[in-house]
């Protein structure tokens, strides 16, 4: 079925214009970036009352910028843009971004955007947990101006963010810690067109001989929003990232998550795979530390 209620696709040329449109149309308007997620929602009959799509492609939000302290990712940057960025590819800190966007087929890479992927608030998607592990924040623009939302405050529940009705995401800021930090992402899926059964993103840092500020996030069939494995992080922080610590952290992650079982995988399998993926990712990230 097509989106039968659709009357118009609006093509604003400025951020303020988008905010105005959102304010005036309310719930009947939906922001569209690459459209890949909306397509899936429509196909499953999950979009019913939307009459207007607001196309973000004319706002120039497809820029990647770095300074010494951070990476700015425009919300309309595509997966292919991320994958093709030499800055990101050569960074151990940002490696998990490249890991995540390497999975989908090229057609998805060309269309899907970072902003759309995050704003979908779907726990099965990959980039949200990577950006969470990288301690990124989202820049939201609305009728009253802009604000920064730490990513761990963005996801409220399934398909639900903390954005106000008149707000949308214009981009992300990813802090770039000094040397000694690296990230990794890996997931289990059935085919290249699949949503993850379980996905894991980690970031580790070696401080003065000791690990600190670790981040471990799990996505997939583990709940309505990404899960942060705090008990596992505590085990890593202060360790030397030795094999034993990684194993223990993985074990702790398995203990603290409460995945569900469905027709795609049992809870037991998801739990076991979380342990495998946490340990694998930690090893990978550790190996990437320069």
């Amino acid at each position: 079925m097509a989106l039968t209620t659709l009357e118009e696709i609006l093509q604003p040329e400025s951020v303020d214009e988008v905010a105005e449109l959102l304010l005036s149309h309310g719930e009947s308007a939906m922001v569209m970036a690459g459209g890949t997620f909306i397509h899936g929602l429509v196909a499953r009959g999950l979009v019913t009352d939307v009459t207007k799509l607001i196309d973000l492609s004319g706002l120039g939000l497809n820029q990647l910028q770095t300074d010494r302290k951070s990476l700015r990712i425009g919300s309309a940057v595509t997966f292919a843009d991320l994958e093709g960025s030499e800055t990101i590819r050569s960074s151990a800190v940002l490696a998990a971004l490249v890991d995540a966007v390497s999975y989908p087929p090229q057609q998805i890479k060309n269309a899907a955007t970072v902003g759309g992927c995050v704003a979908s608030a779907c726990p099965y998607l990959d980039l949200p947990i990577v950006l969470l592990a990288l301690e990124a924040s989202a820049t939201a623009a609305g009728s009253t101006g802009k604000r920064e939302i730490p990513l761990d405050e963005l996801f409220v529940s399934l398909f639900q963010t903390s954005l106000n009705t008149d707000e949308f995401i214009t981009g992300f800021t990813v802090p770039l810690p000094s040397a000694g930090t690296a990230s990794s992402f890996e997931k289990i899926e059935t085919t290249a067109n699949d949503l993850s059964i379980v996905s894991v993103a980690v970031r580790v840092s070696t401080g003065w001989r000791k690990s600190r500020n670790s981040r471990i996030f799990v996505g997939g069939g583990i709940g309505e929003v990404p899960f942060r494995c705090r008990a596992a992080e505590v085990i890593l922080d202060g360790s030397k990232l030795e094999d034993e610590a990684l194993r223990k952290a993985a074990g702790a992650a398995v203990e603290e998550i409460e995945p569900f079982g469905d027709h795609r995988a049992s809870a037991e399998y998801r739990k076991a795979m979380t342990g495998v993926l946490v340990e694998r990712n930690l090893r990978q990230a550790r190996a990437r530390i320069q």
Binding site: R44, T191, N193, R264, Y269, A272, V276
Partner: protein
């Protein structure tokens, strides 16, 4: 084998290739008639219920709604929807009704609406208020067969639709003679055909009540017969238009669905053409491959001689008997009994009704379900007895020239042993290591699975009609048109028929076309199913071309002043054998026959010397004499991650004996497509239903997983061990179903060889692999 006149045996690009990849207008899904309405159905949310009351008042008032049908408005005749069995056929179980008042599975249609747009029709369908009386439902074969289980139909006992046995020799003596007896159960799941073009039709009823219908289906005449039967019309009132091609059949379009009769009835009601198309979600509740559980008990001597083969198969037919009642027989006889040699055989098969979605036809028709068990059990036997699985299969399979275990006649051509040896050599079988040998968590392994003695064109038996008819017409430019009811369902049949006709007439393949047709202007042809296109239809178009050729030579003889017996044709010219310089172009001969040419002389126009006038037309209508036996052996290499259970197929070698290969490029495409289907069947595909309610859980391609290009191995090697079968056109047998029969066993055996994990139920998900390894 040598090519013939650059036609047969040559890699010919499919004639419709460009058309198809650009979304060709020939697909039935693209049929668009002036004034066409769109139909949608309302479906039952219950697995088993009786309709108490229906209220269509609100739906009727929706602007744009043109007609609504409820069970009260449609014929309540019982029928079997299978195309390849005549309605009155003996083996047909007539248990289906077009929108009856009892629903037997979730998703069974209960009302239909025609409206100006599909969206309005859908909206109106949802406005229909239905009151149901829920009945107890049974969703497993065990529950259906249990004492006191609710009866789904009144014609069965214990919900068993078919209960058949087959026995040869003395099985008990076979067990007594065995040194070892192996007994295991293997289970296959319900999967969907997933043809990219859904079931779709456009019906147009004229002022005289004549029904013209376009549909994406595999059998022109089957649809005509079934539609006429359901509507209570003589077949002469129904005209089925042949699609130039369809977007995939795979056995899923071998039966009439509710959309054809419903759209015809809606068209009668509205006097407008009505189109109905299934959504992807509807496809999943319409027809799926039959799930079968097979228990195998095999007696073997220590030297590897099989002394007895015994099996019992249980098939979940779902709500209606249809294909389940024939799949169980093909599965038992062709998939199981006639594969490996053994004098003592016993098989017991049952097809059982449940309140699940109706089981249907699917490439291999019960063969893959059997081979998944048989091919694995052989490897299990070989491991225990320390025998080589290749040698064991050679020792226990038929050889060329032997009598067929079922048909009258022999294995006229049968190069199965060569397939095994050549395939083993190419995959590196002798370097195979013991399970779990690879260091590290990712372990590789090699496995073998076979399509041992499959059959071209079904069985050529009376009740399973397999006959064909064709016309060949020669045009004044030297080209030829084929008219046939045989439908190209995606295997490249049209191209193969053109190649055969071109070779027979001695013209370039580009000069032959498949023309349009409908049931009123071409002879009967059996469905495009059962691996029959190349062999059965191919033989018929060849015979029709030979008939045209005879007439061509008769006319050419008058032009070359030679006896037709002394003529031959090639490269578009007819020539005198032994004196090729004496020749005339086929175009000139055809033009001479076709046109009222006269020769101008001083005395005025004079008739020319050719006494034979009229277009050169060849025809044939015939039954295949026998069903030749194709065979294949598939070897795969897999990598299994023993931490996660994930399986990747790294490499595949498939060796086939399909007689002469008419179009090698097309044949390779069949093998590769079959492998992709096989990987899906073995590792991921599964139409899943809620065990409590019977509702479909995998209604789209996000939840129903098919392999993508990413999951295909980088290396696929197709080997054709050619033979020249005397019963096939230019020696050709057939291929299609073999391609899906071998992969499940091969992949399962490779997983075992890699890891030591034996998984006996499909699909072999990562989770099952881990459990088999004792790691979950």
């Amino acid at each position: 084998m040598a090519t013939i006149s650059d036609t047969v045996g040559t890699r010919v690009r499919h004639h419709d290739a460009i058309d198809k990849v650009t979304g060709g207008r020939g697909y039935p899904v693209n049929v668009n008639l002036a004034g066409m309405l769109h139909g949608r159905m309302l479906r039952s949310p219950y697995a088993h219920a009786r309709i108490v009351r229906m209220d269509i008042d609100e739906a009727k008032t929706l602007p744009g709604v043109r007609a609504i049908l409820t069970p009260d408005d449609v014929p309540q005749v019982k029928y079997s929807p299978i195309y390849f069995m005549p309605t009155e056929g003996l083996a047909c179980i007539q248990d289906m009704t077009l929108m009856g008042r009892t629903v037997r599975h979730v998703g069974q249609p209960v009302a239909a609406v025609a409206a100006d747009t599909m969206e309005i029709a859908e909206q109106a369908a949802q406005l229909i208020d239905v009151e149901y009386e829920e009945l107890p439902a049974v969703l497993t074969v065990e529950d259906a067969m249990a004492d006191g289980a609710p009866a789904i139909h009144d014609y069965t006992s214990g919900n068993v639709a078919v209960d058949e046995t087959f026995e040869t020799g003395d099985p008990d003596a076979g067990f007594a003679a065995a040194d070892h007896v192996f007994e295991q159960t293997y289970e296959t799941q319900r999967i969907n055909v997933c043809a990219l073009e859904p079931h779709v039709c456009v019906a147009d009823v004229d002022a005289y009540g004549n029904v013209t219908i376009h549909s994406s289906m595999q059998h022109l005449f089957g649809l005509r017969e079934k539609l006429a039967f359901v509507l209570g019309l003589p077949v002469s009132k129904v005209k089925v238009v042949k699609p130039p091609y369809i977007g995939g059949g795979f056995g899923g379009k071998l039966d009439i669905t509710p959309i054809e009769p419903l759209s015809a009835l809606l068209s009668m009601e509205t006097h407008r053409p009505v189109r109905m198309a299934l959504s992807r979600a509807e496809e999943f509740v319409t027809s799926n491959k039959c799930p079968i559980r097979i228990r195998l008990k095999t007696g073997v001597k220590s030297d590897g001689t099989i002394t007895v083969r015994e099996a019992s198969s249980l098939l979940d037919a779902g709500a209606y008997a249809t294909h389940g009642s024939t799949v169980i027989m093909v599965h038992g006889l062709f998939g199981y009994c006639f594969t490996y040699k053994c004098p003592n055989r016993r098989w017991h098969g049952r097809s059982v009704h449940t309140n699940n979605v109706t089981s249907g036809g699917f490439r291999g028709y019960g063969g893959p379900q059997a081979s998944f068990g048989v091919e694995q059990q052989i490897d299990e036997i070989c491991e225990k007895l320390e025998l080589d699985p290749v040698e064991f299969r050679i020792r226990n399979s038929h050889s060329e020239g032997e009598d067929h275990p079922f048909f009258d006649g022999t294995f006229t051509t049968y190069r199965f042993h060569e397939c095994l040896r050549k395939g083993a050599e190419r995959i590196g079988w002798s370097d195979r290591t013991a399970p779990g040998s690879d260091p590290g968590p990712v372990k590789t392994g090699i496995g073998l699975g076979c399509a041992v003695t499959w059959t071209s064109n079904c069985t050529a038996q009376p009740d399973l009609y397999e006959h064909s008819g064709a016309f060949i017409k020669l045009n004044p430019d030297g080209s030829a048109d084929i008219a046939s009811a045989a439908i190209d369902i995606g295997c490249g049949q049209n191209t193969i028929f053109c190649q055969i006709v071109a070779a027979e007439l001695g013209i370039p393949v580009e000069m032959v076309r498949m023309s349009s047709a409908d049931t009123s202007n071409v002879p009967f042809d059996a469905p495009m199913h059962a691996s029959r296109g190349t062999n059965a239809v191919g033989a018929t178009v060849k015979a029709a071309a030979a008939d045209a050729r005879e007439q061509l030579f008769r006319v050419a003889g008058t032009m070359l002043d030679a006896s037709p017996d002394d003529l031959d044709a090639k490269d578009g010219r007819v020539f005198v054998k032994g004196a090729e310089i004496v020749s005339v172009s086929i175009a000139e001969v055809a033009a001479r026959a076709d046109s009222p040419l006269v020769t101008m002389t001083r005395q005025g126009p004079q008739p020319d010397a050719t006494p034979y006038r009229g277009t050169i037309i060849g025809s044939a209508a015939m039954n295949p004499a026998v069903s030749p036996i194709p065979a294949g052996a598939m070897f795969v290499q897999v990598a299994v991650n023993t931490d996660t259970g994930e399986v990747r197929v790294l490499r595949a070698v498939y060796a086939h004996d399909i007689g002469r290969v008419i179009n090698p490029a097309g044949a390779e495409g069949q093998v590769e497509g079959g492998l992709q289907q096989g990987i899906g069947y073995t590792l991921m595909e599964h139409t899943q239903f809620d065990p409590e309610t019977g509702a479909c859980l995998s209604g789209d391609f996000l939840d129903y997983k098919m392999p993508t290009a990413f999951e295909m191995p980088a290396e696929i090697e197709c080997i054709f061990i050619e033979s020249d079968d005397p019963n096939g056109p230019f020696g050709a047998k057939s291929l299609s179903e073999c391609c899906l029969i071998a992969p499940p066993g091969a992949i399962a055996n490779a997983i075992y060889n890699a890891t030591g994990a034996r998984v006996r139920d499909l699909p072999i998900t990562p989770e099952k692999v881990l459990r088999a390894l004792g790691r979950l």
